[in-house]
Subunit: 320 residues, 2 copies
């Protein structure tokens, strides 16, 4: 099968082995895959991953190993963490934090930048027909945006500052607005801020961000350590910063003000697929405005280069 | 009156002006004052404070400006934050975070390294006769230790790792143990760890700290940025780190693992006096084992030098 194989460097191959689903797994024919910032990091070699990258996809179940026969032929998206099921984290219901977890295209598990991918059927979610393929590829990052919501306690009427006008920031801003929050999005890109405004979100250029310690909730989704510095300046005493950006290794931030102002800084990674699917099906979140380009799978290097271009939103790979 | 006056450098003076209590304030004759790590920082000039430092004390109310006449002659301790009463933080019940706050001996308010100090009567707490002067000076840091408790949700049977065997770490460990937590204290000083064991607390040399990601709750009270690095290694996924150390300016920590493991890092500063007074009165916390030396007030420089000596616990100044 076709696949992008990474082992210190990237090779586009036509002879990747078609994966064989193990017990409890399904074999999924990939239709569309999305390129995420994490993929760009992986292809720089930061994570030590070797294999097929890619973790955002929509596909059709081709076969199952044993259970889940009713899924065959269904269009699905998939959660990316695979827990061992027996460690303390899995037993505590935190399989996303399993100490021996595999993560699709990120850790010890071949991903979806290929014609086929396998995942446990427990990870798969059927996609309603009201959601197109191009929309469905956004479910995984949209779920990550939904992971912010529980940290707000109550969203309705709550003023929230979202830092970062990239893909994730634009999704988070929509999710919070949909839940009733009063959202201000801060970014550095005129075009993306204009897009935010088209989506009904108040958008502010970062250099126009006035005042300090004004927001009870700040969501940091800039992808840069400087975002946390700004968040610490903008959050109210006793406020909450939800930290979505994984910082580049070795870059660091002074937390003195977090102690003095008794700030809560809470890290947030993957999120729940069900509300993301429901929001897309009900058209409460618009993802297609975040789509930049769809490349044929054969143009993988060009797609990666496009995705790495500053200011570019979502780039997809078409495996059909 | 006698007082330690700091303005870029420290002068011990006999001619400091005796303070005059303003409306709602009391004049307190200082009996004993404690030296805190924050005082050592202030005398290095880091905070820009000018005036009389010192914020841990026990004294006797000599007079009041108007209200609170029943306090005259009473032995008291005092909360150190003075809110304006009208800003958004004060109105929200967070006067400790008042945007225009004065802080005793720390910000815009002369402190207690002097014969007399003034404070709003609302800040004062009478000290029961069962608590000695030497014990009462520990109320302020003990209250800061009690500020950790609400972050545990439930303390009973909860395993907590306390990092730092200094004054604050030893107080926090006792408070948590008293609330039913299963506490392990980590430090670098054989003598202090032996003291912790005498107080019934499991104590571990830092180089013997095995395992990783084992604790749902970690309290960071080392006073060093390295403490947060250790905390991030020791906390379980989705766990909580309570951050008590104000880091030295410019020192910084990489928070990548806080995002990946979805850790909550919550800053904690001052705490409630009432439970601290109750715990001391009921002998549920032992503070006298943390006392190093009591210096006569006239030996202020020697006392500061002693307090700055690595490994030394609490140093007091006697103004009687």
């Amino acid at each position: 099968m076709r696949g992008a194989f990474f082992d210190e460097k990237l090779k586009i191959r036509d002879d990747c082995s078609k994966p064989v689903p193990g017990p409890g797994e399904a074999l999924v024919r990939v239709r569309l895959a999305g390129i995420c910032a994490t993929d760009l990091e992986i292809l720089k070699g930061y994570s030590g991953f070797a294999g097929i990258p890619g973790h955002e996809f929509v596909g059709v179940v081709e076969s199952v190993a044993d259970l889940g026969g009713e899924l065959v032929g269904q269009r699905v998206v998939g959660e990316i963490n695979i827990g061992c099921g027996s460690c303390d984290c899995c037993i505590a219901g935190l399989s996303n934090h399993c100490r021996a977890r595999q993560v699709l295209g990120i850790r010890d598990k071949d991903g979806c930048f290929a014609d086929y991918v396998t995942l446990p059927i427990a990870n798969l979610h059927p996609v309603p027909s009201s959601i197109s393929d191009q929309e469905a590829v956004f479910i995984e990052p949209l779920a990550a945006a939904f992971a912010v919501l529980p940290h707000l306690h109550t969203a309705r009427e709550t003023e929230v500052l979202v830092l970062g006008d990239g893909r994730l920031g634009l999704l988070i801003a929509q999710v919070l607005k949909g839940a009733g929050a009063v959202v201000s999005l801060v970014g550095r890109h005129t075009g993306k801020l204009a897009l935010a405004r088209q989506l009904g979100i108040k958008a502010i250029m970062s250099e126009e961000l006035a005042g300090e310690k004004e927001y009870q909730f700040v969501v940091e989704a800039t992808g840069s350590p400087a975002g946390l510095v700004t968040a610490l300046q903008q959050v109210r005493p006793r406020g909450v910063i939800v930290l979505k950006s994984t910082m580049a290794a070795g870059v660091a931030v002074d937390l003195t003000s977090a102690v003095v102002d008794e700030i809560t800084v809470v890290g947030s990674r993957c999120g729940p697929f069900a509300p993301a699917l429901a929001a897309l099906a009900a058209k409460r979140v618009a993802v297609l405005p975040l789509l930049d380009t769809v490349f044929p799978a054969g143009q993988f290097p060009a797609a990666m280069a496009r995705a790495a271009t500053p200011g570019v939103l979502k780039v997809l790979l078409d495996f059909c």
